[in-house]
């Protein structure tokens, strides 16, 4: 017990000094569990997020847009892979994590429980959803756990590309013909509030924040990250003539913040509890692919085993 306390002291001192915690270092069980939960949830979000965007690959309206979208969705898969590996450095197993996702024991970002209903949604997701992810991940890149922090640095670079491509896509539509303008404004109307909810509940209702911040798994609160995103995004919307769907939106000269209306968190909790428009569809789709791929995974494992044995006898 004394040993444990000493280790904890050393651990907390390290974090206070701004040093990174590495996989083989001692860490409190709670730290390990929180990190696995966060990293896995992040990985799940990447791979579930492939579905709403993948939904438009076959319909992208130009070859260039099709290639950009394919590359983006492929990047998301790569991020998923990278993050599952980061979770494995903490002793988790990718297969267990994926099964926990499929049987509803683990969550993913709620934003992906909304449908992509027009081509403009692809631009809006790149701009807003990836934009919000960057704000969050720029913070996580400074977190205390080495492998997660390094994964975030790399992932952020790619997300920045996605955001720029998304905004460029949105700008073209916003400057296009009436049909395109209507399409992109409609997409913004549907995604705006959902994106703001990606940052989670208000600070006073965020149960995890205190612990996460003490150990520098998280360095800023939900509300402060959300505000940064809002301040960044609103001028970008105005610059291309889009309207933010918020009648109460106003700029506060004193704080230099954009102040938004009331977020309807009932909707967020509804989606978290499994009742968003696509919760069941997304998981059913992933489950179907996973089950249909079962024989492929077994064949690959078997083949690897046979090959290994062959090497042994040679």
């Amino acid at each position: 017990m004394i040993n444990e306390e000493l280790e904890l002291q050393k651990f907390e001192q390290k974090i206070a000094n701004g040093e990174k915690i590495e996989p083989k270092d001692w860490m409190p069980e709670k730290y390990r569990k929180q990190l696995i939960r966060m990293i896995a949830q992040h990985a799940h979000s990447e791979i579930v997020g492939m579905l709403p965007e993948g939904n438009w690959i076959t319909r992208a309206p130009s070859l260039r847009r099709k290639m950009v979208l394919l590359a983006k969705v492929q990047d998301e898969g790569g991020h998923g892979l990278y993050l599952y590996s980061a979770a494995e450095t903490l002793g988790a197993d990718r297969k267990d994590l994926i099964e926990a996702l499929l049987n509803g024991k683990m969550k993913y970002s709620n934003i992906f429980n909304y449908p992509t209903l027009s081509w403009a949604d692809i631009g809006i997701i790149g701009w807003l959803v990836d934009g919000a992810a960057i704000v969050n991940q720029t913070m996580l890149a400074k977190c205390s756990y080495g492998p997660y922090s390094r994964a975030m640095i790399r992932i952020c670079k790619e997300e920045n590309f996605h955001k720029r491509q998304g905004y460029e896509n949105v700008s073209v539509l916003a400057q296009g013909n009436a049909k395109q303008k209507q399409m992109v404004q409609d997409a913004l109307n549907r995604w705006w509030w959902q994106t703001l909810m990606m940052f989670g509940p208000h600070d006073e209702n965020s149960t995890n924040t205190v612990d996460l911040m003490r150990w520098k798994i998280k360095l800023e609160t939900n509300d402060s990250l959300r505000q940064r995103f809002i301040n960044l995004t609103i001028p970008q919307a105005y610059a291309i003539g889009l309207t933010i769907p918020d009648n109460d939106l106003k700029y506060n000269e004193k704080t230099q913040n954009w102040e938004i209306g009331k977020i309807n968190f009932d909707e967020l909790y509804n989606v978290i509890n499994g009742n968003g428009p696509c919760n069941r569809i997304r998981i059913a789709e992933r489950k179907k692919s996973y089950e249909e791929g079962n024989w492929v995974r077994i064949a690959a494992e078997n083949y690897a085993l046979k090959n290994k044995n062959n090497y042994g006898t040679k």
Binding site: I47, R59, Q74, W119, V172, E285, I298
Partner: protein, 255 residues
Amino acid sequence: MFEKKIEENLFQLLVQIADDKLILGHRLSEWCGHAPILEEDIALANIALDNIGQANSLYQIAVKLENKNRSEDELAFFRDEREFRNIQIVELPKGDFAFTIVRQFLYDNFSFLLFQKFCDSNFIELSDVSKKIVKEISYNLRHSKEWILRLGIGTEESKFNTQKAIDKIWEFTNEMFEFGNVENFLIEKNIIPNLDTIKTDWELSVKKIFDNTNLQIPNISYFASGGRNGFHTEYLGYLLAEMQIVARSNPNVKW
């Protein structure tokens, strides 16, 4: 550069091959988010991207030759079924993982041999772009070949599924060695290779891997034909309907 007749024939040829790549890329992209393992979600998306990128480059050369102010997107999104010149094997629905891998393996082998030869084409634009493309195909081929081995040797079930896919696809393989009516003319000018030699090499390399895995080449007498002249399976129309819907519902705009 070339005389008119050669340019017209070359245009036809480039569109044929580009159509193969675009349609195959489309089918591969349908896997995105649905593959058996995450690594394959990434790999298949990547290979889809390679194919669509290759289609894009080939269309660009084609429209330049044609010189009618058409864009590569017009070729992709504003032609109907009868105007597409791809072979039918690439338009077949993606099927299960075994079907996708078998098709990919058979096509990658063909495509690799073809683009190797294209590197020596007298048509500089084609030989230049082929040097880049052939590298990509060699990676694609390595991927599909390794999967044939895994599936062929892995388990009884995987072998059964793979053989079933081969039996289903085989009648569509012969079309790879047809270039419609442009063939002879361009061969004489050393612009494209003789497909008979490619066919012999293709059979050898396919057979070698199948022999390693005890997969059988089916003994059939009927082979599909006609894609190069715009004769397709019924699947292509639905594929194009999906691919072209957004572009066609709002034409003449920038995307």
